[in-house]
């Protein structure tokens, strides 16, 4: 991928960017209480006494959330810390009932790791993971129901979060986009977070600074909170970096502050200046013992891990002969990769991939269907490709058959059989058709023989037409060449 450089008449600049991603943990109950995490409940329905910060209530750590975090850590190729502990992050807000968030501070459960991102042209780049810790989500404040009152929904209060912090390794907006895609893919493969940024189950804070191109200094950064789509993250990085460049080039200095990204304008505006930054007064949570994991436990979790997108991609390239690009696209989503693998089993995988990424997804898009709703099953897609490979039908017929499959969901073999679409590979039968065609057009035969080579295609077309498309095009070509001398 080409380097991303901000070039102005005054100079060249590069971006230094890191991300902090909050991922809601998939678990039946909240991280420190037994309340349900199910989405879509009535307001304040899933709230235990612990979540509501009632007097005398104590947190207890949800084992499943720890399991999910360890799984995620392994998926991020990260160090799993056998000792971690919990801290309180103290601040007042109406949707934070305890007045503190129980999080991990000095000793997170997951240490350094890396994520390989896939860039244009089949290139990859390693993005460093600084750490990942687990914590509780806050509730939701709703300010737009009443002009004077705010409303609080605590259903989300106490839902488990994994906060993933990257190293400042991003040098281009596209890299951040590719990272978020890859992270989402890994989390979904693992089943530890559903990764829906629009629903807020994955939320991204973006830290951006710039520096003169080629230097290794780190300048003041600004943080943009809760940027809620991959597109917006890339936009926010680009625009914020430009803002910094403009400031530096006009002789100013960038102030360390938290900024808000406005998706409507694409611009950022100041939310909180450094002098108003909270003093969170972190201290070890006395209500929870440190979390100590054994090697056996970590190995057990490791053994439960599914094949992840990178490994799957690798396998599809080396064993199935896919191009890296096709493999990346197919492996981004586990369901897609599974469908493909089922379709390709026992058939020519490369050809299945072409069909899968071309006609098959074209059909789904046209019909506005999800993969799981596809009328064409993986097995039938494979069978169709096999029919072509075995010369039972030709490519053109295959497209007709596929169109029928898309309507009826039928087995392609059955369709070919019923509609009599089997291609003719019997040379004597094809010869007979060719003879008819040549006999019917003596002028063209003469013209061809006289040097009008361009007429060859016309003959092929006539033969195919006469055979109702069932003649094997290869044999037709070969026989025609022989007959026309």
């Amino acid at each position: 991928m080409a380097e991303y450089v901000i070039e102005t008449p005054k100079g060249k600049w590069e971006i230094v960017c890191g991300l902090e991603i909050h991922c809601q943990i998939i678990s039946k109950s909240k991280i420190y209480s037994g309340a349900s995490t199910a989405f879509g409940a009535e307001v304040n329905e899933h709230v235990s006494f612990v979540d509501a910060g009632m007097p005398g209530m104590l947190p207890t750590l949800n084992r499943e959330c720890v399991h999910q975090a360890v799984k995620t850590g392994i998926g991020l190729r990260a160090k799993i810390n056998k000792y971690s502990n919990f801290s309180r992050k103290n601040y007042f807000y109406a949707d934070l009932p305890q007045g503190y968030q129980i999080t991990q501070f000095a000793y997170p459960i997951v240490g350094e790791g890396e994520v390989l991102i896939d860039l244009a042209g089949g290139q990859t780049k390693s993005i460093g993971i600084e750490r990942m810790h687990i914590e509780q989500d806050a509730g939701k404040s709703i300010h737009d129901i009443d002009p004077k009152k705010s409303f609080i929904d605590l259903n989300r209060a106490g839902v488990g979060l994994m906060e993933i912090v990257t190293k400042p390794d991003f040098r281009a907006p596209e890299e951040a986009g590719a990272f978020l895609k890859k992270l989402r893919s890994i989390l979904r493969y693992l089943g530890t977070c559903d990764g829906n940024m629009d629903e807020g189950s994955m939320r991204c804070d973006v830290n951006v600074s710039v520096r003169p191109y080629g230097s290794d200094e780190l300048r003041t950064r600004c943080e943009m909170k809760n940027v809620n789509s991959i597109k917006f993250v890339m936009q926010a990085i680009e625009n914020e970096a430009r803002r910094h460049v403009d400031i530096y080039e006009s002789g100013g200095t960038v102030a360390q502050e938290t900024r808000h990204f406005d998706p409507l304008t694409g611009q950022t505006k100041v939310m909180r200046k450094k002098e108003f930054a909270h003093d969170y007064r972190y201290f070890p949570e006395p209500d929870l013992a440190p979390l100590v994991l054994t090697d056996d436990y970590i190995n057990q979790v490791r053994s439960e891990l599914p094949e992840l997108p990178d490994e799957k991609k690798e396998r599809f390239v080396s064993q199935l002969g896919l191009t890296p690009y096709d493999a990346v696209v197919i492996c981004e989503n586990k369901e897609t990769a599974d469908f493909f693998e089922k379709a390709a089993a026992g058939h020519d995988a490369k050809k299945v991939a072409n069909w899968f990424m071309g006609d098959f997804f074209g059909m789904l898009n046209e019909k506005k269907l999800e993969l799981k709703e596809s009328p064409v099953s993986a097995e039938n897609l494979g069978r169709l490709v096999e029919l072509v490979s075995q010369n039972v039908i030709n490519g053109k017929t295959a497209k007709e058959v596929f169109a029928i499959m898309a309507e009826t969901g039928e087995n392609p073999e059955k369709i070919v059989e019923e509609k009599g679409l089997k291609q003719v590979t019997d040379t004597s039968a094809i010869e007979a058709v060719i003879d008819e065609v040549l006999a019917a057009a003596p002028e063209n035969v003469a013209a061809y023989k006289g040097g009008k080579q361009g007429l060859f295609g016309w003959f092929v077309g006539q033969v195919m037409k006469a055979s109702k498309g069932k003649a094997n095009p290869g044999i037709v070509n070969q026989l025609l060449k022989e007959k026309l001398g």
Binding site: P55, G56, P59, T60, N90, A94, P97, Q98, D287, L288
Partner: protein, 487 residues
């Protein structure tokens, strides 16, 4: 049958078992005492109707032969324990009208054992104080008076209502909590017996939190045996409290009669500072002699970091409190004083809702956790806390149980100027008790005699972690020798 209230829990239980009197009669006797002694302001919430209903249910259980270990025993509950359907305020204005929809684990266990709850007992606001004077409902008053004086004395704190109520026989026994001496010091001031168990022995679930790493529930009772009986019911692992211990709970009454012969009693040099009240010293010396006479071996020990204990305690406890009390914000329950913005609502509610001592500790706690001060105060205090704990671990290599005074003085008058003008003087009361909480150890205070003013003085026994049994049996032996006459 007003002398029913004279009976200890153990004696009352025997009477109930033999059907010498009914649980209802017993409860009525205590309710009468409760009414007669309202002047002591020991109860902040009385629930006589509920108590009588419980007592009648207990009588039915006796009739069916299904009586629990504390069936029909009337107890007072410190207002720090959340009690389902019974107002619980931690004696703070900020929890005005709060009626918990849940029961604390300790009170739940007592109810399961058949106990009858008479009401909620006065205490220092959020358990912060040593005289019960920080209560929003005014101080409880010590039933004892100094010879030749009619001045009201403090019952100690923070479990002042519990100690006063037990001393005045307004309940058969009471629950207390102890963060820096809050069970032991009031027990000493009121001439009753109080036990702070090992940290983790009793669940903290449903107890309004003051300082989470120090708080522990325990009984205040008429004698050592009753403390053992109550602890049997209160103790045990609770999955709802991650800091509660999974260790098996023994029958604490089983060891009481065991001899202390050959037991090694540690006597720490550091607890005899120059200028210590000579009456406390002589009371202590008498205790030492009694144990020696009973065949125990007296071992001089050293707890060299004792002198830092108060300073460490008054950093760690307020730090945790400043965070624990953040939830009292006027949003969901209790007092709300409106404001024009969220911040104003917080400020108005918390300014009006918390008393001066609580505000002071929130300020101190916030300060010591602040960026730039954390290392110098909180972190340093945690390190010294470890050294204090190590002192005890070393000491217990040489002895089995440690004997000290409970408090440096006997009960002082209400509104004592030296303390109200300088809170440090009040905090000095905790000098012998806070180390135990910092180290998480079990300790018991029992009445050991009277001062020259005719007021009770307490002795404290400190045990190894989870060795309440040695503490109890030593206390039981001492109790027999001392033969203290309750009020």
């Amino acid at each position: 049958m007003s002398d029913l209230t004279r009976l200890t829990v153990g004696e009352a239980k025997k009477g109930l078992d033999k059907k010498a009197f009914s649980a209802e009669e017993l409860t009525r006797a205590y309710l009468k005492k409760m009414e007669e002694n309202r002047r002591l302001n020991a109860f902040v919430e009385e629930v006589p109707e509920k108590a009588l209903a419980q007592a009648r249910a207990a009588d039915e259980k006796y009739a069916r032969g299904e009586a629990g270990a504390l069936e029909g025993i009337p107890l007072g509950i410190k207002d720090l324990f959340c009690t389902k359907g019974i107002k619980t305020t931690a004696c703070s204005h900020i929890l005005d009208g709060f009626v918990p929809p849940y029961e604390s684990t300790v009170t739940e266990k007592l109810l399961e054992a058949g106990a009858v709850f008479l009401g909620k007992l006065n205490m220092d606001e959020f358990a912060m104080g040593g005289s019960n004077e920080t209560s929003y409902y005014g101080p409880a008053i010590n039933p004892w008076k100094a010879q030749g004086s009619n001045a009201d004395l403090v019952p100690g704190g923070s479990s002042g209502g519990s100690a006063a109520a037990v001393a005045a026989e307004m309940c058969a026994a009471a629950t207390g909590t102890d963060t820096g001496g809050s069970i032991r010091q009031p027990a000493a001031f009121c001439g009753v017996t109080g036990l702070k168990p090992t940290y983790g022995r009793c669940s903290r679930y449903g107890i309004v939190a003051f300082a989470s790493s120090l708080d522990q529930a325990g009984p205040i009772a008429k004698d050592v045996s009753d403390c053992a009986l109550l602890l049997n019911a209160m103790a045990g692992y609770d999955p709802k409290d991650s800091t509660s211990s999974k260790r098996a709970v023994p029958d604490f009454t089983a060891v009481l009669e065991q001899s202390v012969k050959g037991l090694k009693i540690g006597v720490p040099a550091e607890y005899r500072p120059e200028g210590l009240n000579p009456e406390a010293v002589s009371c202590w010396d008498k205790g030492i002699e009694m144990l020696r006479a009973s065949g125990a071996e007296i071992v001089p020990i050293s707890l060299p970091h004792t002198k830092y204990a108060l300073a460490v305690y008054y950093i760690i406890a307020p730090a945790e409190a400043s965070s624990n009390l953040a939830r009292y914000d006027g949003i969901r329950y209790g007092l709300r004083v409106p404001g024009n913005s969220l911040d104003e609502l917080y400020i108005n509610t918390r300014t009006e809702g918390f008393g001066p001592e609580v505000r002071r500790r929130i300020m101190i706690g916030t300060y010591v956790l602040s960026a730039g001060y954390y290392d110098a105060y909180y972190l340093k205090a945690q390190k010294v806390r470890r050294l204090i704990r190590n002192d005890f671990i070393e000491a217990f290599k040489k002895c089995d149980v440690i004997l000290t005074p409970t408090a440096p003085t006997d009960a002082f008058p209400l509104g004592d100027k030296s303390m109200s003008e300088n809170p440090i003087n009040m905090w000095l009361n905790d000098v012998f008790t806070v180390s135990v909480n910092l180290a998480g150890l079990p300790a018991l205070s029992l009445p050991a005699g009277l001062s020259s003013r005719g007021l009770p003085l307490g002795l404290q026994l400190i045990g190894r972690a989870f060795d309440e049994e040695t503490v109890l049996k030593t206390a039981y032996a001492l109790e027999k020798e001392i033969n203290f006459e309750r009020k």
